[in-house]
Amino acid sequence: MFDPGRPLTGVRVADLTMIWAGPYGAKILADQGAEVIKIESPRAWDNIRTLLPPPVAPGEHWWNTNFYFHEYSRNKKSLSLDLASDEGKAVFARLLAHCDVVMENYRTDVMDNLGLSYEWLCEQREDIIVVGMAGFGKTGPEKDAVGYGPIIEMMSGMTSTSGYGDDGVPYKSGISYGDPIAGICAAAAVATALIQRKRTGKGQYIDLAQREVMSTLLGEFYMDWSMNRRLPEHMGTGHDWMSPHNVYPCAGDDDWIAICVRTDVEWEGLKRAMGAPHWTERAEFSDQILRWEHRAELDELVAAWTRGRAKTDAFAALHAERVPSSPVWKMLEVLRDPHLQARGFYEPIRHPEVGIWVAHGWLWRTEGGQPCIVGPAPDFGQHNADILGGLLGIPQAEQAALEAAGVVATRPEGVPPASEMPATPSLI
């Protein structure tokens, strides 16, 4: 029975991606029902497993239990396979015959160096769809530049648009924003190629440069440069015609609420939410243009109302009057956002060694859909036997020989004990 919530059921993906951008894209494919086989070498495993040492007792198999790894790996399978060895490559060739898609986000030259060129992949599976996600793409004078999310963000123009406006300093996003953006786009590219393959019977090679995808989210700035030779001003949390439009301090430690007023109707709503203080009737706040011209003073007056209130109380008053607003949710708070809870956005996830916690479920949901999360991140090499024996029919003795030769493994080589990892107050 076809489940429209998992439209990619029946699609098998050989996922060679690591760190964030690629794994995020592969996660979206897995959520949509694709069988995503995460392939890692026993000697070159996904660095995300051990990048951030856990702050609490992590257990012996901490490469399987680490929180960062779990963020991108639910609903996937794990196969360990050394693609640098002839034996590993031979197994990979057999696996490819059963795959629809190969994804990788290595540096530009790595696939060719491993002998895994597009031509070679096509020899194993004629209509294979291959997605390469190098940061700057596979061609052009900057193709050998390397970069993680914030570098992608800087080089795409994104960072140049953000800043407080009073110090000339461009600011990066809090997250490595370039990564998930590239991952989402890769998921779209895979589905698009599958649609085209259904029509033509042919696969294709997709050269998806992370920097370029990020840059497509900035179209109006390109237009302003073309039209007016103007570069963006840093707006902070302000706006070029709305006021109020800012974050305002609330009672509590570093607590804030975002409030925006676009129309006179919303201004009337804000007035009522604040209890209609007499200052709101002043002539200089009587229309949108005047409010914007007097925005510094207006911000102070709105802040005087928010400052003594809990951000959830201020939000309740604004919500009742349909004023665009939201508490600035912290990471622990967004998990408890009553709206997200009512929609069931977060789903429980359970792992035998970690226990139970919540992770975000569907990024978008289909009517009548099932829960998004089918299973937690797989242990390293958890599906070796299923895939090698079950899917490929490799006899057990041969599997044992591969393991003895170090071509496959159920524990990655060279992971230091968690106790030897540096303690860090910071994330990386």
Partner: protein
């Protein structure tokens, strides 16, 4: 305006992935049109149904010389290339009837009305798909179709706050900061493209479509990286870290602007070679454990070193040594980038109303297809072509519909 040539020519043999697929775009603003824009570039016939006063994005700049004009909004032109525009007033029964007829011929519908609007106008998915099982329809709204905030108006700023992203961005000793532009809407549009392409593949394979409820808040909240799991699995809150998570992960001032580095521990040896300062070989920096304990000292060194670099010099040093260096590129840099030009990244448009425009024209490069890079439609430009030519309404009907404010 004139037709523009498409970018890279792959020959016509493979066609484009969405050739012959009709998309009905009832979406306004950024998210839905962004998704529709790429479907159009991939070959779909995207019929953009605008209210009679036009998509509100026509009223947002930038405009050439800052002169507002419905037909030259840079935002609108960017988001609506290669589409056809008709105007329909859905408050009239004739307008709704035309929409139903169009939906019968469409494989995909994209809409962004306030939750409840389509139901109250008898245009819900249940109605549009009644004799059309394979229809894929997506609703894109700030908070989704259900829940206590479903009908709460939103802006980019409030969505940024509601997703948790804003909390993480900005200087730790200042207020949380908003990213430039309209990132909540744009990223939701990219998610919508992934959702639509996935669902349409399912419809092609199984003959069964689907209705998708996409919330901008959820798509944005779903990319909170390690910060998310650290909270949900370990119960630990995260703080804003400004421009520097640590000395080797952040933005610095350089001689001609700003640059930066994002080095993981495994990149350190190459980084130290590239920079070439002897002190970087000291145990207190070279050892990953000690490095974090001596982060302030390392940052002081890096401030000095970066100040003497140029942006292009940094990028080239990174390429030479395989170190993640980069710079804060401007839209002038990007428009003039030889690298991006060599990869046919840009679409261009040149006519007397808008002047010469250069803007991103594709998402990825494929061996299987190229991308259309044509211009955006004028308001209602295709009313006659579609309502008369394709749906078979007589010319007199169009006059009548106009008099009834239906188109």
């Amino acid at each position: 305006m004139s037709e523009q040539p498409s970018g890279r020519d792959h020959g016509d043999d493979a066609g484009r992935p969405f050739d012959g697929v009709r998309v009905l775009e009832l979406a306004e603003g950024i998210s839905g049109p962004f998704a529709g824009r790429w479907l159009a570039a991939l070959g779909a016939d995207v019929v953009k149904v605008e209210r009679t006063t036009g998509d509100p994005s026509r009223a947002f700049g930038p405009w050439p010389d800052d002169l507002p004009d419905d037909e030259t909004s840079g935002l609108f032109l960017y988001l609506n290339g290669d589409k056809r525009s008709i105007t329909l007033n859905l408050e009239t029964s004739d307008g709704r009837e035309i929409l139903r007829e169009l939906a019968q011929s469409a494989e995909i519908v994209i809409e962004s009305f306030e939750p409840g609007f389509l139901e109250s106008h008898e245009l819900s998915y249940a109605e549009l798909s009644r004799d059309h099982d394979a229809l894929v329809m997506i609703s894109i709204t700030p908070f989704g179709q259900t829940g206590p905030n479903a009908n709460l108006p939103a802006t980019e700023l409030t969505l940024y706050a509601a997703s948790g992203q804003m909390w993480l961005t900005g200087h730790p000793e200042r207020h949380p900061l908003k990213n430039g532009g309209s990132q909540p809407s744009y990223q939701a549009g990219l998610n919508a493209l992934a959702a639509i392409t996935g669902a349409y593949y399912g419809a092609v394979m199984h003959g069964q479509g689907s209705y998708i409820d996409l919330s901008v808040q959820e798509t944005y909240a779903g990319m909170a990286e390690a910060f998310h799991t650290r909270a949900s699995q370990l119960g630990i809150e995260s703080q804003r870290s400004g421009n520097n998570l640590n000395a080797l992960w952040g933005v610095y001032e350089v001689a001609d602007g700003h640059g930066g580095i994002c080095a993981l521990p495994r990149n350190y040896p190459a980084f130290a070679r590239a920079v070439g300062l002897d002190e970087l070989q000291d145990e207190r920096f070279a050892d990953p454990g000690q490095r974090l304990l001596n982060n302030d000292e390392l940052m002081a060194i890096m401030y000095g070193w970066f100040a003497a670099q140029t942006r292009q010099g940094l990028l080239e040093l990174g390429i030479e040594h395989r170190v993640p260096f980069g710079y804060v590129a401007t839209f002038e840099d990007l428009t003039n980038s030889e690298h991006l030009q060599s990869r046919d990244f840009f679409a261009s448009l040149d006519d007397e109303d808008t002047g010469s425009l250069t803007y991103p024209g594709r998402l990825w490069l494929s061996s299987g297809h190229d991308w259309k890079m044509g211009r955006a439609p004028r308001l209602g430009e295709h009313n006659m072509e579609i309502i008369h030519g394709e749906l078979g309404y007589e010319r007199e009907d169009l006059v009548r519909l106009r008099e009834l404010d239906a188109i």
